[in-house]
Symmetry: C2
């Protein structure tokens, strides 16, 4: 058992914050939801968003850096895939938590 140093604590906080920050944007959250069922190429994703392609690309890039999605090239297109589908269940949990204020919701 490591002695949990202040630095390690800080590191742990920052890791979590990185993921939260990545998800904390309407467009990015929408993108993640689109990837829940299947992988998609950038052009498909862009169609559903009211923003420049370059903007969407940057959002996806940010999600990739956060480890939430991965990408793979297939011909001219690049496909994005959700690495951790369970994150979305977590978001439903957030809503339930706030609405019901039930301490034991979300299965823990």
């Amino acid at each position: 058992m490591k002695p949990t140093t202040a630095q390690a604590q800080q590191q742990r906080l920052n890791n979590r914050v990185a993921v939260l920050k990545a998800l904390a944007h309407p467009t990015r959250l929408w993108l993640v939801e689109q990837l829940e069922q299947q992988e998609r190429c950038v052009c498909e994703l862009t169609d559903g968003v009211d923003a420049d392609i370059s903007t969407v690309s940057k959002h996806l890039s940010l999600l990739r850096q956060a480890g939430i999605v991965t990408s793979r090239r297939e011909g001219k297109q690049i496909y994005y895939r959700l690495e951790t589908p369970c994150l979305l269940g977590m978001l439903t949990c957030i809503e339930t938590a706030l609405e019901t204020k039930t301490p034991g919701c979300c299965g823990n």
Copy 2:
């Protein structure tokens, strides 16, 4: 069953984003963790943070607006309480999700 309009979708996204944004800051996340076991007054919380009291106060105020904590006055002090303890389990889940990439983690 309501027909899920584009506006409603947007609203749902924004609600979730509001919570994520509130949690997406190292100090605020730390504050929330401190409140996991018991309520605390501002002075207790301030002791553990390297930041001005006024800064901590603003963070707490932001968390309150997001519906994550509530506050109550007792004499000179104001006590903050975590409204939804299960949110923290969710955060552990984030870590597990990213480390293990297990689709079915987090119990969903």
